[in-house]
Symmetry: C2
């Protein structure tokens, strides 16, 4: 009795695998899928994936690069501070849409093409606006540090960020020896229960402070 062949899928491609991996990670909200679960979703055995990516680490490299490919480059035809703000807001958006990405950042070692183009565009725009090489390096460093750090805290909701105190206001206040941490308690009470977009407000405050500082210092860097 001849066994009928299972319906033959389209053969996998790098791109199919990559997009499925990103989609699964986004859905899970936190953490990247296992090779075995990813394979299941693609109707294939885990080992098939190794035909397209040498190992999981290079898959992760490509996932990160895909996140960077979604970030808006500094737009032309507007003031440089506006351009930098737009880039920063877009970057935060991408990191929030793909909450698994920021945790991977500190273990990636091979920047992809979209990542390089992104960096090149930001540096290029700063240089064309009168920032020296050192100045552009400083500006890039402080902006990206702020964006990554803010998002890192935003994603670890319950606390960690004053803007996020609402989330745990209740539960923390209960356990908190109110008189041991009076300033924390006060801040939770005063700023608790604010609407969710408080994060965006808070992000803008710091971003404006930094952009203003960069404007002041721009000429001072050799």
């Amino acid at each position: 009795m001849v066994q009928e062949r299972p319906p033959r899928r389209e053969p996998l491609t790098r791109t199919t695998v990559l997009h499925a991996a990103v989609a699964m990670a986004d859905e899970a909200g936190t953490g990247v899928p296992s090779m075995r679960n990813l394979a299941d979703r693609l109707g294939v055995k885990a080992m098939a994936l190794y035909h397209h990516f040498r190992n999981k680490d290079v898959l992760l490299d490509h996932m990160i690069d895909l996140v960077f490919s979604e970030v808006e480059l500094p737009p032309e035809g507007v003031d440089w501070q506006v351009a930098m703000r737009r880039r920063a807001v877009s970057m935060r958006g991408a990191l929030i849409r793909h909450p698994w990405a920021i945790g991977l950042m500190d273990s990636r070692t091979n920047p992809g093409h979209a990542t390089l183009r992104h960096h090149d565009a930001v540096i290029g725009r700063l240089r064309s606006e009168g920032f020296s090489i050192a100045g552009a390096a400083h500006a890039f460093s402080v902006l990206d540090s702020y964006i990554y750090g803010f998002t890192l805290q935003e994603l670890s909701l319950p606390f960690e960020s004053p803007a996020g105190l609402e989330g745990v206001a209740g539960s923390i206040l209960e356990e908190l020896p109110g008189d041991e941490f009076p300033h924390l308690a006060e801040m939770i009470v005063e700023r608790g229960g604010r609407p969710g977009y408080a994060y965006t407000e808070e992000f803008d405050v710091g971003l404006d402070l930094i952009l203003d500082g960069l404007r002041r210092q721009r000429e001072s860097w050799p």
Copy 2:
């Protein structure tokens, strides 16, 4: 024939387990040990650990709290900007000494005692220097975002931070289509090969910019 008893260790305590976990994580440089490897190191089977920590997640919570316990609180008797700088430098130091910690930040949900005391002290100091509640929240948010983000980039050496370009100057320049990313190439050439303490310099530049911005804005926040 009576089997001789194996030499009986001191019984484990929460503290022994916790310190061994941190030590192993520090040595590994990256990533936290598995429960099984941690148990081996303590001369015990993995399941014994669950007698002291309900699961790995609460062990991780305590490890993070231990990192915070090493961070200097804003010192008394100095200008507030100096105090904030000392706290920031100390925080970066702790995160660099325990490079596994920053990657855990975005998945922790239960701040420990040392963490709460740290936050309370920072907020308290800002309040006593004339920052309003909103102002203290803004200051805390922008400072911690910067510290975390800078360290995150510093720990993902090869690139990601302009200050870290040296690390890969060579290898990247080779593969890089030099004319596709001219500004990146220029920055790598000009700033490549700088000594390792360049990170500390870079950290200070951004920190000063932010502290100066906070001084200017202090009165403006309701």
